[in-house]
Symmetry: C2
Subunit: 352 residues, 2 copies
């Protein structure tokens, strides 16, 4: 059995005894029944994921996967491709949005080069990023497959490796990404895996105008026509219209799920990665927490396919892992409610 | 000029220069334009409130106002009135929801007895709560005014005093409350001050069933008929159909606004207090941040009247200040984004 198959085989359902024990305690807390709403739902889920009524969530890691995209040459983004490398530098220097929100959350940020079109070897050699680069950017999905089947397997496997390496020192994962042009493969993946039209799931990314949006939709439609991805085969979809960082996110989620670690899925691109993980292993969805509802219009459709309600809705559209970093506070809040609020009996308060 | 009038006179509009300077920096950050959405709106607001492009928010205080309600005798709540006193004990012992979430937020909880129907003098003497008690609970608003005009002024004044006393050691306030039966006066206030029907703004509180909800609506309708509160006079509405803790919250908000301190308004009952503050001083709204959208159905209407979008929507319906505690993380996140994310120039990243 190969690494991907082994990982998938290791992903188990929630621990029902821990879920039940958590629910029993939550129902006795000094408050009206289930008065903390979705935080209580989350607390019950965390108990099921971790198999504990004291789910550990203090050691937090956001994995920001970077990759470049051949389709950037087709003029689908408001920014030039060089920004991917520049933003990796910004991550390493601690000046990006994800660094700032991770510091606030008490999380570390681990940056992974999954296939950036630039030389990051010095940062990798210095241990400032992890290098899992598959190639210097994908091929242009508008004219053929973004990557080979072997590259797709390699990239997902790299994400699994990263999860495995970090799992020993991580209780709670967050996904993140950087890659100029990466809402284009994300919309393509979401269209294929949800069955929605390209126009329905394609938005303005970093901020393109109407004319460029129409062009982006046409590029994705052409990509689907040229590549004919098989919606029943997650690896085929990933290879034909995906991206290296999206594959890495899918692998990270599978690896985290196999280690029974909850994963906060960030925004639209991360959710495209989550859909690939779902296609490869439906059970993996049980370990995902949707961090937020982004502005990107395909995101809602993708979250529905996962069956997830987002924790936050703040008109974010940055990615990087910023939404995951913000939502970590809510995960900790859910655990604190479960473990620290007094029961009616403990506090001698009259129940209803 | 009396204390209330002096406080109202001291409430100023936002500092426009600080707002503009904050916006200018936010527009240069290494991310697509306004990509952190509502956190950036909030950062701009905080600059305007505090008159600083480094808005201080680290010293956080949640003020949980407790009071009892004569209308509890009319059978409007799922819980007996004794729970108000018991929950004050729970707050003091650190076992309630607000304590747990305040600890996570790094906030202190200050409990104020605004008029509980029980003896809290030992806790007050020990310095564990602040006593501003007006009376041991309001009169039953179903049969006459909940309090006198003088009591309403006293209770709002007490909230102002609390804000003034705490403002020296507080950058960011959160409101909270405890009082069995207090969704009933809150719905009455919201109905009067928004002009909506009682049925539209009355919900299940701590969890009453259909029949009891119909009874609660009838009680509130009767209260409005008997008392005829004047929608143009916030103090009249408060006196006739309000509550001591709701008055305290209104005063706290006015006092915080006069000190240019942002205030996170918690859930439905706190928002009723915020509507009273708005009625007394429309400018005070500029210092309010709506923490969350609660399950209670009148809350949305009340937030619309304030012109506020809630930061969170997590099906909470607890009160105490729990939503305010949770949203403090977002306030800090907004400030960190403003002050810590690198600009394109600082990070040598190419702009669009």
């Amino acid at each position: 059995m190969n690494r991907l198959d082994k990982t998938i085989a290791a992903i188990s359902p929630h621990d029902t005894a821990s879920r039940a024990a958590a629910r029993a305690r939550l129902e006795q807390l000094t408050m009206p029944h289930w008065a903390m709403g979705r935080l209580m739902d989350l607390a019950e889920d965390l108990a099921g994921m971790t198999g504990s009524v004291h789910p550990p969530v203090t050691r937090k890691t956001i994995v920001t996967m970077a990759g470049d995209h051949g389709v950037a040459a087709s003029g689908v983004s408001a920014y030039p491709q060089e920004v991917t490398v520049q933003m990796v530098g910004n991550f390493v220097n601690g000046g990006a949005g994800v660094n700032v929100l991770a510091r606030l959350a008490g999380a570390r940020v681990v940056v992974v080069d999954m296939g950036v079109a630039g030389d990051l070897s010095a940062l990798a050699a210095a241990g400032k990023i992890i290098s899992k680069r598959v190639a210097p950017g994908t091929a242009n999905l508008a004219t053929g497959p973004a990557m080979t089947h072997e590259q797709a397997i390699q990239a997902v496997g790299a994400g699994i490796e990263v999860a495995r390496e970090l799992a020993e020192s991580t209780d709670l994962f967050g996904t993140g990404e950087m890659g100029i042009g990466n809402t284009t493969p994300s919309s393509a993946i979401v269209a294929v895996l949800t069955g929605e039209s390209v126009a329905t799931v394609t938005g303005r990314g970093t901020g393109i105008q109407d004319e460029q949006l129409a062009h982006k939709i046409a590029v994705i439609e052409e990509a689907l026509r040229v590549n004919q991805p098989d919606a029943a085969d997650g690896l085929d979809v990933l290879a034909k219209v995906g991206g290296f960082e999206i594959a890495g996110i899918a692998g990270l989620i599978l690896g985290a799920a196999a280690a029974r670690k909850p994963v906060l899925v960030d925004g639209f691109i991360s959710t495209a990665g989550a859909l690939v993980a779902q296609a490869l292993c439906p059970q993996s969805v049980d370990y995902m927490i949707a961090a937020h509802q982004s502005v990107e219009q395909g995101h809602r459709v993708a979250l529905e396919k996962l069956g997830k309600l987002p924790m936050l809705d703040l008109n974010l559209r940055l990615g990087e892992g910023t939404g995951a970093a913000l939502a970590m506070h809510h995960v900790e809040a859910a655990v604190r409610i479960l473990t620290e609020v007094a029961t009616f009996a403990e506090a001698s308060v009259s129940a209803a």
